[in-house]
Symmetry: C2
Subunit: 512 residues, 2 copies
């Protein structure tokens, strides 16, 4: 069977897993019966358990679904400590359902897979040794990749049923009141973890900073928490931030960032009260810097900035150029530490951020979003999941979700080294071209032909040539040549869900 | 059938309504499957509807359960405006499930009952013309009275299934982000209404103050809201506060307040880090004043104050005598307006406040609570629901819930005019004597004999005589005489649930 982005889907697997083929980016207005957790009632007993080993013993059973969040990013200690205990205890057939998997988690997940401890994974993404192992068929069942909004949707609908959530926090009291904003290892918004706290049957908080009761502000509440474990350290404060707090100095990236800003400011969306999501990384920071100057020059103020937040966005808030910052996560210490000081920074959960199956997600109110791409093809389909070698090395993140903005810009170089970014067909479709509006590269821009309004608005920006996406693809091919076709086996190693839970593509096992 | 507080229960009605008799104040540790709402997915369409009539038409059907909150108290305009439309439209057989009913709502509910529009009610309480009508058999089915914590429990377990919640708010944006803290008619915490927002199938926000999107802080979130209606005025700001912002000057009340404070300060609970709930009314404010002085004199600081909050409690917070204030509601402008300024004031929902069926309610962490009584009997059972004439004129509020504190004090005069407060048997058992520790009256105190530790601690307070509760009852009877026995018909007009959902008593129809 093929879906509407022309991807061949594995029929048997699809019917086994009860998948519908991806059809449209329009979610519509269905009525959805939510699910709810089983709650074990407690009164005023302290929830503090003596050790991780003890709490694992009390909560985990073979075959269960366990979850983690990735707010500590590359500074996370919690995931490895819990998984070490689980592996050593010899559990089998677990499903791992974290909000995402960062590089620091790779090796232990590979070990858990090899030992049969983990046989199913759902995640936003994976990279490094884990992506490599999965791409080569290590995991028993296909990984299910879901966007941040889709994970929220799947939790609310019961497609992901979390038995035990292990949630690291920079502070908590003995009853489980906790937030992400205070303490040595503060990371800011608990956005992704708030879903686990609300929907998991058992919620375990893990902290190195036990506070006096009651600990406030309480983003996670005692009404949601079963156990609290104190350990020596939940994370490495220096590695929690993305590192990229400085603007890029790469001339190509700067060129792209400048052009992205020109696209924004020449669009009809650049007016008082507009909203945007810029994302993280040096290039995104550069866009924010250019945008700031344009806002000052044109006396334009934004109503809100959304998503994963960085310090330069907080600067805009403090300067009065942005009225509200809505944080589902924070990418650096500047953004994280500002959260409990600035009343106009609002913590939002992943559902509020991006779930298409609720009464309105913030992504649906976005005017402008800037997203990245590993590959983009002549149908504007975007791949942020697999490399040019077919190996998994990415994450959906909020890509599919935020692409629903009124002006969705893909910011990417035409080529990376000897590898084309603009291609005839992406290796893996993650975000359908239907929701992509403009591609910005260092040589110019390509506008989705279905957006005649943008073609009109953006075709005469000084110094910004407009090409068709096919011309862009040919330019890239001219530079790097035609790559050899990738070889895969018939085995499906990963399912890529669209944000509505339909199947938009699969990843096949790499043939060595 | 009789329950464990020796109340005769109506067998047929009990089995029809699937009630268990009240047995114990100990909730235990059951595992409870929560329920969840049906959600109608929407994207970025504005939710603003042109009129209340239009939104009622779109949402309400015969036989549905509709809810309201009572945070505007006697200043509420929303309830009457919505009910007027519902009555005039001729709906039938509705169940009314507000968090409570204030006096300003009485007449229109009586009208709705008379016209068959409302045939079932569940509430924390009722008074005035409505209590009178119900007590005389006006409502088709018995009212179900539930405490604030029990209402939260019943909503989470599905015993109360709200089809449409009509929630008045002092501010909201077009998508439904709202709080109770900002605006002309701010009332502070949205504590009770947060349950309705989370669990109702349809949530309608009604405001007179439409703010720019996104409106933060968002206590109610756009992910929970279906419709937003702007009307001219949601409430009368002058009547939202309880009025009682000044200390009582009544010598008897002052005497009782002083004794309450002596009981607290002579107990083992009066030490650094203790917690308390004082409630509202002039006498409660006086207790807070006496307690403040004792805290200063003894250099003792409290960890938290809980419940419905008043300005004098905020003063303690600002003086550093209390570390956190946890607001499920705010009783006056001083407490309400401080909420968005003081980071150490935390808004809590009714479940967090008082639900026995979650992973820990704050009432279970309380050291000291001061509660009132219409009657208290020689088994320490308390009535806060029916008057000495048998007519309904009260509310459970958080009475049953907060009585779970380590030191539960009933503060009440021995007699009120020609009516005894301390009686052989209360007219209606609302809170079982098992959870009551000390009665404080103007003549002295009575200590529950099961609390030998308190008898030891409190028997030698200078100027505070200790009596048995039987002696107290006899003193009261000596003053006012033996009242004539009340006459009721066999018909049950109200069921009084204990906080665990079991039946603790019923109210019978008054015989004229």
């Amino acid at each position: 069977m093929k879906n509407s982005v022309n991807r061949e889907l594995p029929d048997t697997l699809m019917s086994d897993l009860n998948y519908k083929p991806f059809k449209t980016t329009n979610f519509g207005n269905p009525e959805i019966q939510r699910v709810a957790p089983k709650v074990h009632a407690t009164a005023n007993e302290s929830k503090v358990v003596s050790s991780l080993a003890e709490v694992v013993k009390q909560t985990v059973q073979d075959g269960m679904t366990i979850s983690f969040h990735h707010h500590f990013r590359e500074g996370d200690y919690v995931f490895n400590k819990v998984m070490r205990i689980i592996i050593d205890a010899g559990y089998q057939n677990l499903t791992l359902a974290p909000s995402s998997l960062t590089n620091v988690m790779n090796d232990i997940v590979v070990e858990a897979i090899e030992k049969g401890v983990v046989t199913n994974i759902t995640s936003s993404g994976m990279r490094g040794s884990l992506g490599d192992a999965v791409s080569h068929g290590a995991l028993q069942n296909p990984v299910i990749f879901r966007s941040h909004g889709n994970r929220a949707r799947a939790i609310e609908s019961g497609e992901i049923k979390i038995d035990v959530a292990f949630l690291g926090v920079p502070n908590a009291d003995e009853m489980g009141n906790a937030n992400g904003m205070d303490g040595e290892t503060a990371f800011g918004s608990l956005g992704y973890a708030l879903m686990d706290a609300q929907y998991a049957d058992k919620v375990v908080l893990i902290t190195d900073n036990l506070k006096q009761y009651p600990n406030t502000p309480a983003s996670i509440k005692q009404t949601q928490v079963d156990y609290v474990v104190k350990i020596d350290a939940v994370g490495n404060a220096d590695k929690i931030g993305s590192g990229a707090t400085r603007f890029t100095k790469d001339p190509k990236e700067l060129k792209i960032a400048k052009t992205v800003n020109q696209v924004i400011t020449h669009s009809d969306y650049f007016k008082n009260g507009f909203s945007f999501q810029t994302g993280s990384g040096g290039a995104a920071l550069a866009v924010t810097r250019f945008l700031r100057q344009s806002m000052i020059d044109n006396q334009i103020k934004a109503s809100f900035a959304l998503g994963g937040i960085t310090k330069p966005t907080i600067d805009l808030l403090e300067e009065g150029l942005v009225d509200r910052v809505m944080d589902v996560q924070d990418f650096d210490k500047g953004a994280a530490s500002s959260m409990h000081l600035n009343k106009q920074q609002q913590e939002i959960d992943a559902s509020w951020y991006a779930d298409p199956a609720n009464k309105g997600a913030m992504v649906d109110k976005l005017d402008v979003v800037i997203l990245s791409a590993l590959e983009i093809d002549t149908k504007f389909n975007v791949n942020v999941m697999s490399g040019s070698d077919g190996v998994i090395r990415g994450a959906i993140g909020g890509h599919q979700d935020a692409a629903k903005a009124k002006l969705t810009i893909i910011s990417a170089p035409l080529v990376r080294g000897r590898i084309a970014t603009v291609v005839p067909d992406v290796t893996t479709v993650v975000t359908p071209g239907d929701s992509i509006d403009v591609l910005v590269t260092e040589v110019g821009i390509a506008i989705n032909p279905k957006r005649q309004d943008l073609i009109d608005a953006l075709s005469h920006i000084p110094g910004v040539p407009v090409y068709t996406i096919e011309q862009m693809q040919q330019m890239a091919e001219k530079i790097v040549g035609k790559p050899k076709a990738l070889e895969f086996t018939d085995r499906t190693v990963a399912m890529i869900e669209y944000r509505d839970g339909s199947l938009i593509d699969v990843v096949k096992e790499v043939k060595d």
